[in-house]
Each structure stands twice: as C-alpha cells, then as structure tokens.
C-alpha cells in the first residue's frame, strides 16, 4: 500500500464527507426556502429567522466539496462540471438569487418584500432541482437520450421533495405554535415524495448502470448491504408513525421528541448517501475515470491532507458551537 494508492482514497472520503454535510445542512435551509410560500407573513419571518445564522456556513460546505474535487481530482472537475455546465449554471443562479433575497427581503422597501420572498423560494427551488438533475446526470455517466434526461429530472423533483422534508422537520424542531403544526403537515406530505425519490434512484440506478447492479446483486455482499435498504424502510416507517402522533400531541401543547423527525430524516440521507457512495466508488466519473486516474500528484495531496487534518476538527468544533449558541426554538432575528 503506497501513498499514491491511499491518498486518493482518503480524498474521495473527505470529498464525500463534505458533500454529505452539505446535503444535510444546506438541504434543510433550501427546504425551508421551498416551503416559504406556504406560510403566512409572520411565519415567513420566523422560518427565515430559523436558518439565518447558519446558511452562509452551510453553503461553504459546497465550496469545500467542489473545491476538493478541483484540487484533488482536477481531471474529473473539468469533465464533471463541463458535462454539467447547464445544470451547474442554473444551480448557481438559484443559489445567488436565494442568498441575496435572504438579506434583501428584510432590508429593501416594504412593497418590494413579496418579490424578494418569491425570489427566495424560486431560487431555492431552482437550486434544489438543479442539484437533483446534476446527481441524475452523474449517475447515468452523462448518457445522452431522452430517457436519461427524464431520469435526471425525476431525481431533481425527488431531491427537492427530500429537501422539503428536511426543511419541514427542521421547522418542527425549531418552532412552536401554529407554524409548528403546519410544518408537521408539510412533513407528512413530503415524506411520500422523498420515499418515492429514494425508491426511484435505488431502483433505476442499477438498471441504467449494469456495473452498479453487479456490485449490489451478488452474494455475499447482498447480505452485507441489506441493512441499507432495510434501515431506510424502517426510518420511513418511523416517520409515518411519529408524524401523526406528534400532530395530535402538538395540538394540545406537547411537542416532546420534536427533534425525532429531523433525526430520522438525517438518518435516511446518511443511508442513501452510503448506498450511492458504495455504488460509485472507486470511480469518480462513472464508466470513464477512477479516483487514481483523476488524482493530483501525491505531493499536493499530502500538503492539503495535513492542513485538513489540522483544521477540520476546529471547523467541526466551531460549527457545533454556532449551532449550540442558536439552540432551541428560533426567535426573531435582530442585529442588536
């Protein structure tokens, strides 16, 4: 085992970690953006307040993920983002619009406010859809043809549903009163969409990609892998059980275990991500390039690795600290 072998493996792991953290963290705030049009004005303010202190840092994980791809697998960065040129453009437009609308909506003149709210929601939708399309295109190895594009679009819708679920569960945890009641109902609606999305990606990916099918449907690994789908099913079942009960209890002012739906959703994301990572690894562009072919020189990877080992624990520590500071129910934000 030499450095040229395991350095790319470590960096694939780091990149995967960055993407996973991104999907969970920006997933909930994109989801809150998707749900924004459903709330009344006071609810909108509270929803935005619940993600206000976090969204900048959440988006930094995307920069880290894309940045690691650029610096550790430069050959793949060009191929992947070249092939995803248009969805990436749409995602960036979406992220730009929602990022600025977030600030403009409270700072612009009052008559402009509904416009910035709409832009916030539309930007969130555009970014979520585009990220799903990117995932769908990536999984088919950027195959041409109407069917693979249709698949990508469906993944886009599915990922948006998953983000909406994350966002709704975040709101269940971070709010109370009427908004919390509505968030529970939003979560109940988006569970079905998210479940469909997971089912679709899990079912279709082996169909469009025989190499992935071979990795899953062979003995003995099939048995070792079974916990992934079974765990996912169990977590979805848990959602279906707890959400109606939580709705009944919440109506009489008891929201104990309000964090459970969010934790269950994060669990689903973790399992789905693990499944995807298993399907793809060690390829970085499916069917074309593996991580060793795409990797930078070990000399560059070493120096980044030392930095990452030193700095990542600090990042995790102060991110945790920031979440602790804003722990509990979200109150209205003020700069004072």
């Amino acid at each position: 085992m030499n450095a040229a072998y395991w350095l790319p493996v470590i960096f694939a792991g780091l990149m995967g970690l960055a993407m996973l953290v991104y999907v969970v963290l920006d997933g909930f705030d994109l989801g809150v953006g998707l749900l924004l049009p459903l709330a009344d004005d006071a609810g909108k303010d509270r929803m935005v307040a619940s993600i206000g202190p976090f969204w900048d840092a959440n988006e930094t994980w995307l920069v880290l993920g894309a940045g690691l791809l650029l610096v550790a697998f430069p050959m793949a960065h060009g191929v992947v983002f070249g092939a995803l040129y248009i969805p990436v453009l749409l995602m960036l437009v979406g992220l730009i619009l929602r990022g600025v609308a977030f600030d403009f909506r409270v700072k612009a003149r009052d008559p402009h406010r509904p416009w910035w709210n709409a832009i916030f929601a539309l930007g969130s939708l555009l970014a979520s859809l585009a990220q799903g399309v990117m995932l769908g295109r990536y999984l088919t190895g950027f195959a041409d043809g109407a069917l693979s594009w249709l698949f990508a679009l469906l993944v886009g819708v599915g990922l948006s549903a998953a983000y909406a679920l994350l966002g709704a569960c975040w709101l269940i945890m971070k709010t109370d009163g009427p908004l919390q009641a509505r968030a529970i109902s939003w979560a109940r609606h988006s569970v079905a969409g998210a479940a469909l999305a997971v089912l679709l990606v899990s079912g279709v990916t082996p169909l469009v990609n025989p190499a992935i099918a071979a990795k899953w449907f062979a003995l003995p690994q099939l048995f070792l892998l079974l916990p992934l789908p079974l765990g996912t099913v169990a977590l979805f079942a848990l959602q279906l059980i707890i959400l109606p009960r939580l709705a009944r209890r919440q109506a009489v002012g008891n929201d104990r275990y309000c964090w459970l739906p969010f934790a269950a959703t994060v669990g689903i994301v973790l399992l789905a991500f693990w499944g995807l990572a298993y399907s793809v690894f060690p390829q970085v562009v499916i069917g074309r390039m593996d991580i060793w072919q795409a990797a930078s020189d070990p000399e560059a990877l070493w120096i980044i690795l030392w930095g990452a080992l030193l700095v990542l624990p600090c990042i995790i520590a102060y991110t945790a600290f920031a979440y602790r500071v804003f722990w509990g129910k979200a109150d209205s934000l003020s700069y004072q």
Partner: protein, 448 residues
C-alpha cells in the same frame, strides 16, 4: 473582433471575478471597522458607537451574502473555464485554494451568525471575539488568494517536470517577489473602499437630516481613515510599480505607454496607444517625469514594448492605470480637505452641504479604483496566465461557444440586477436610518 471560445471564456471569468471582488473589497476592511466600533463602544460606553455598529453590520451582512454567492460561482469556474490551469500548476494552486477554503472561508462563515445575530445569546466578550474572528478570516482569505495570484504574476519556488509545476520551496511560492506588495496594496485598497463608503453613506444620511452622534462617528471614521490610508497607498503603489519594473517589465512598458526603449521618458497624462503603428496618438505628457518616478533619474532608461516578444494589450492597461491613479488623486484631495473640515471634534460632525454631496458622489470611488487596478495587473499579465509557464489560451477549455455565450449573458443580466438592487438598498437603508434618527432627535427635543 471575432467572439471565439477563448474570448468568451475570458469575458465570463472576468465578469464573474469583477463582480466578486466588489464585495470582498468591502468586507475585508469593514469587518475591522466593525471591530473598531465595537471596541470603542466597550471602552467609552457611548451608545453612538453601538448605533454605528448596528447600522454598518447590516451593510456587512448584505455584502457578505453577495460575496459568498459570487464566490461559490468562482469555485465552479476554475475547472470549467480553465482546465489546463490545474493540469499544469495544480500542485501549487490546489493547496493554496484548499487552505483558503479550510482556514478562511469556514472561519468567517462559521462565526458570522454569532457576529450578526448572537448578541442576545452570548456574552459581550464572545460577541467581540466572533467579530474579531470574522475580520481575521476575511483578511486570511485575501492572504491566500493574493499569494496564488501573485505567484501567477511572478512565479518562484518551483521546477517544471513533464509539463507540470512541482513545488521546490513553499515559502518561495507563497512569499513570491510581488506578493508582499500586492497584498499590502489590496488591503489598503479595501480600507479606502470602506472609508469612502462610510463617508458617502453617512454624508447621505446627514443630507437627509440625520444629526445623530452614531452617524457622525461613522462619518468621521470614514474621512479620517481615508486621509490616513491614501498617502500610504500612494507609497505602496509606487513600490509596487518598482517591483513590476523589476519582474514584469512588459507590463510596466504598457502602463507607461513606452513602445520603444527610451531615456528620459515623459509621464503621459493622455494618449491613445495605437497597436498598429506602435506609437501613441495625441500624446500629452510631462517630460522626463516617468523616468524620474520609475528610475529616480531624469534620464533613466525605460525598456519599451519593442524588447518583448510577447506583451499585453497596451491601451487597456494604459487607461486602466490612469483611471486608478486619477481616482486616487481625487481620493487624496477629498480625504484631506474633509479631514481638515472635520478637525474640530463635534459629535454630529456637521459638514457643508456641497462637501456632503461630493462625498455621496465618491461613495463607490474605491470600487472604481480597485477594479481598474485589478485590470492593470491582470490584463498586464497577458498573454500569460502564469508568467512564462502557461498562456491563457493553453489553459482554456472546450466548452462550446454558444453555451458560454448563453451563460455569460445570464450572469451579466443577473449581476446588473443585483448591483442595482445592492446600491439602491444601501441608500434605502441609509434613508430609513436617517428618518429614525431624526425622529429620535425630535422626540428628545419634545421631552426636553
């Protein structure tokens, strides 16, 4: 001019990075100014400083958001627009970019929430510390990115093997010959951008009837900061120019519009550099002054563009430089006159109406000078992407022309809209704050 893929890729990258730099150039220094306001408040206990903090932290939040989203765009475009870049110099650019993300981006974004919204939830000390870390993170990110940019200008500390750059000495890579000059120049540029932004928006508030001490404190801070920094910037700019003469003489020749090597070169105030005839049309200059400034000798020799096989486009560099210096001179006059007018220490810092209007007009002077300066240094590096190692054309990607054209138009439309929204919201916030301050003063008078 034919719009080929290379031109479009350059235009797109240029548009993105120009839009992006507007916001870091505010955030880098504004974070330190906010820390200053906070520390003054802690020391004096005067509410005016906290009022100034409360208003300017909103501007900071808005600028930070724009900086983040335009920065995300950059992280995708390095690979899509310039695939040859990472292939050739990835061993240098990769670690520098990674360190910027890991040490700086997370630090500033991680503590931003506490800085903006955390005051009711954390102690005063933690809040001040969060402000300090955000300021430090912002400056640290400037350090890394300017180290990389300067290395592209004046590369050292590496060897080429099989067409790829390999680091031989990281200290030489990071602290390459132009890096200390460019970093200082940029940090001062950020300070000046913020100084004029502070002065301009505060002047606007005063014009709208705001006589609050908080606004006066911000106005005085802006004008005095500008008066302090502008002479430093002129000194550093001169040193940076000498550094350019030593390491990038072709860029210097383009800046001065010297087509043919000459002794006792004039400082050209106006000219239309003509690439076809290799001379300047309608030149107006001060004899011997360019030689005096650059060589510190009236008859010093300046190497002309004729000595270089490849040199940057002259007119763009020549004029960008004159815009930068021209705005710098205006800044000097404005700042010193303003500081003289403000020499008495009255809390509300009331100024003459004409001076206030002038300051409002100069609000974004820093942006103009900063952009012009970056155009000098970036266009001045052409045709190289990394001097002597890789040309811009070699690094360009294969994206089709129509796709790049479409995305370029999308970005341009988006950026134009956002810039308009940003500027108008800034003035809207100032007007609103002025109205509230005015009401508060009236209330005090009624109660008295």
């Amino acid at each position: 001019m034919e719009l080929d893929a290379l031109t479009l890729a350059r235009a797109q990258f240029g548009a993105n990075i120009s839009f992006h730099i507007l916001f870091p150039s505010i955030n880098i220094a504004l974070a330190w100014v906010l820390l200053f306001f906070k520390l003054r408040y802690l020391r004096t206990g005067k509410q005016a400083w906290m009022d100034a903090y409360g208003f300017w932290v909103k501007i900071f939040a808005l600028s930070f958001a724009l900086g983040v989203v335009s920065g995300v765009t950059m992280s995708f475009q390095f690979g899509t627009n310039w695939p040859g870049y990472m292939q050739t110099v990835g061993n240098i650019a990769g670690p520098l970019l990674a360190y910027e993300i890991l040490t700086a981006f997370f630090l500033e974004a991680g503590f931003l929430g506490i800085m903006l919204f955390g005051r009711p939830r954390v102690s005063e000390r933690v809040h001040t510390f969060a402000t300090l870390l955000v300021a430090f993170g912002n400056s640290l990110s400037a350090f890394w990115i300017i180290a990389l940019n300067s290395w592209m200008q004046t590369p050292t500390g590496f060897v080429m093997k099989d067409g790829r750059a390999h680091v031989s000495d990281w200290l030489q890579v990071i602290f390459n010959p132009s890096m200390p000059y460019r970093l200082t120049h940029m940090l001062l540029a950020s300070g000046l951008t913020v100084a004029f932004l502070l002065a301009g928006l505060s002047a606007y508030r005063q014009l709208k009837g705001d006589r609050s001490a908080g606004n006066g404190a911000a106005l005085k801070t802006g004008v005095r900061l500008a008066a302090l920094l502008i002479p430093l910037q002129i000194l550093v700019g001169d040193a940076h120019g000498l550094n350019t003469m030593e390491h990038q003489p072709a860029k210097l020749a383009a800046i001065e519009g010297v087509w043919h090597t000459e002794r006792g070169a004039p400082l050209l105030l106006f000219a239309l550099p003509n690439a076809d005839t290799q001379r300047n049309d309608y030149a107006v200059g001060i004899p011997h002054l360019a030689s005096l400034i650059i060589k510190h000798d009236l008859d010093g020799e300046i190497r002309g563009l004729n000595e270089f096989a490849q040199h940057p486009p002259v007119a763009k560099v020549f004029w960008s430089f004159r815009v930068m210096v021209g705005v710098g001179v205006l800044m000097l006059l404005t700042a010193w006159f303003g500081a003289w007018q403000l020499r008495r220490d009255a809390p509300a810092a009331l100024l003459d109406r004409r001076l206030l209007c002038w300051l409002v007009g100069m609000t974004f002077a820093g942006w103009v000078a900063t952009l012009a300066g970056w155009y000098v240094t970036e266009i001045g590096r052409q045709p190289w992407l990394v001097t002597g190692v890789l040309t811009t054309a070699q690094a360009a990607g294969q994206a089709t022309t129509s796709m790049v054209a479409g995305s370029l138009l999308t970005y341009l439309a988006l950026y134009a809209g956002l810039l308009l929204a940003y500027v108008s919201v800034l003035f809207h916030l100032a007007k609103k704050a002025a109205g509230q301050a005015d009401a508060a003063v009236v209330l005090q008078e009624v109660q008295a």
